[in-house]
């Protein structure tokens, strides 16, 4: 069963158009949502959470249409937005009480365990927290009400590498339960490459791909060739290109041939950077 199904999703703002975005996230998996600023990641997440109205398309979250009785479904979703957004005057203890009355399955002990692990002070006002501390608190809250789906919008940005690593481990541990699923958007591609089973890449409001990470890494490659060779390669087979005085690095699909050329493994970052440079979008 799929935890999340997005079909032909569209939303238009003045100067921005999210068009026909479709992807599926199977239960028990982690999907990374990648794209530059303004690509449509947060808009997609807001549409999934039904906090903004879509212009077209369908969204099914945990098997239910997100426009019908979504309140019940939201009990099973742990959400971390790009900021923590708790009232800055509240302390962690007060936030715990508020969340206790907000989520039916609130697990106070688990919440305080996370706080202890994250070394967050319980009595300090939220406004005195650093961005990293705020995000850790939001992550602790999202993971303390038996959520089946975690939706994380730039949840690891603002954290130092150590804290990020610690949190990625927690996310990884969370999906060991096959009922647990994560959708995470981030600018930090290396984090997503480490963590995710699926990668969905948005660029200028359009979906460039939504694929299994391993398949992407197997299928895409970087081909090194001279400028002369470049002229002989059909343009439709070049998915991305980076030229220099010495030659060119091309993003290609292994299935399109090119056995005569040296091919290097392409990382996720190479794939998305070269795709944007070539303007395949």
């Amino acid at each position: 069963m799929n935890a999340l199904e997005v079909k032909n999703l569209s939303k238009t703002y003045k100067g921005f158009n999210l068009s026909n975005v479709s992807f599926t996230l199977p239960k028990g998996c982690i999907m990374g949502l990648i794209g530059e600023n303004g690509a449509g990641k947060s808009t997609t997440i807001k549409l999934i959470m039904n906090t903004i109205r879509r212009d077209g398309g369908e969204i099914t979250v945990l098997g239910k249409d997100n426009t019908k009785d979504f309140k019940e479904t939201k009990e099973d979703i742990g959400i971390v937005l790009d900021e923590a957004y708790y009232p800055e005057q509240m302390t962690v203890l007060q936030i715990n009480k508020f969340l206790k009355y907000s989520y039916k399955n609130w697990e106070e002990d688990r919440f305080f365990n996370y706080l202890k692990n994250f070394k967050l002070p319980e009595k300090k006002a939220f406004k005195e927290f650093s961005r990293g501390m705020k995000m850790k608190l939001a992550i602790a809250a999202a993971m303390s009400h038996k959520a089946k789906l975690l939706i994380l919008d730039e949840a690891t940005s603002g954290l130092d590498p150590m804290a990020r690593d610690e949190i990625l481990d927690i996310f990884y541990e969370y999906t060991r339960d096959e009922e647990h699923t994560i959708l995470i958007s981030s600018h930090i591609v290396s984090d997503l490459e480490k963590l995710c089973d699926y990668i969905t890449f948005l660029h200028n409001g359009k979906l460039l791909f939504s694929e299994e990470k391993d398949r992407l890494l197997e299928e895409y490659a970087i081909m090194h060739c001279s400028k002369e060779d470049l002229r002989n390669i059909p343009k439709e087979k070049i998915l991305g290109k980076r030229t220099s005085a010495y030659g060119a690095d091309l993003l290609v699909k292994r299935s399109n041939g090119f056995k005569q050329y040296p091919l290097d493994k392409a990382g996720i970052e190479d794939i998305i950077l070269l795709m944007i440079k070539e303007g395949v979008a």
Binding site: T51, K71, I79, Q89, M90, Q94, K97
Partner: protein, 207 residues
């Protein structure tokens, strides 16, 4: 909804403490005989949601609340409940202070009048009923100008109306003062209607 009310309470305790103290003080002063203070107290109670919504806007709280297991309807209605419960507490304070005054100063003139209580509750309900839909539609920041226009309009309009000493205005004043329960029912209906309008307006907003 309990969570939302609790959150508002925590916010008020931290940032609206002076306002809460003023409400309590004015209620006591009103019971002591200074009836004008009761009107200030009730306006402060009616303004509590504006205060909380303003702080929420600064913290972008609505973005998170919309993603939590709350319907937009609950978010709106919790603010109406805040006004309702604020009025109940205000009246309770006024009654306690009046009783205390009666016990401590038996010779003093009784300050407890049902007519007065009904009047101030009605004013509180009507004031909140008129302003809250504008705030839910525009947000506190953008609604500020409307807020001033509405408040000034009501105060100015009433002032002009009463100072006109026309036969019509005297009749209306007489009717309202002798039919306070009618005024109360009207205020409650207006408050409920305002709640329904606010829900519709807030549901159209995106976060």
């Amino acid at each position: 909804m309990k969570g939302l009310l609790l959150k508002d309470w925590y916010v008020l305790l931290k940032q609206g403490r002076i306002m809460l103290v003023c409400i309590a003080l004015y209620a006591v002063l009103a019971a002591g005989g200074n009836e004008g203070m009761g009107f200030f107290a009730v306006l402060f109670v009616a303004m509590l949601p504006f205060w909380v919504i303003g702080i929420d806007e600064r913290n972008k709280w609505d973005n998170l609340a919309a993603a939590m297991p709350y319907e937009k309807k609950e978010i709106v209605l919790s603010r109406y409940i805040l006004v309702g419960s604020g009025l109940i507490v205000l009246i309770a304070l006024y009654l306690i202070a009046s009783l205390a005054k009666g016990l401590l100063m038996p010779q003093a003139e009784a300050s407890f009048h049902w007519q007065y209580i009904i009047s101030i509750i009605a004013i509180g309900l009507i004031y909140a009923a008129i302003n809250l839909p504008v705030i839910f539609r525009l947000g506190v920041e953008k609604a500020r100008l409307w807020f001033i226009i509405i408040t000034g309009g009501i105060a100015g309009g009433l002032g002009v109306y009463y100072s006109s000493h026309s036969e019509g205005s005297s009749k209306v004043t007489h009717f309202l003062s002798t039919n306070l329960w009618f005024v109360m029912v009207l205020a409650i209906l207006l408050f409920l209607l305002s709640g329904a309008i606010s829900v519709r307006l807030y549901e159209k907003r995106e976060f």
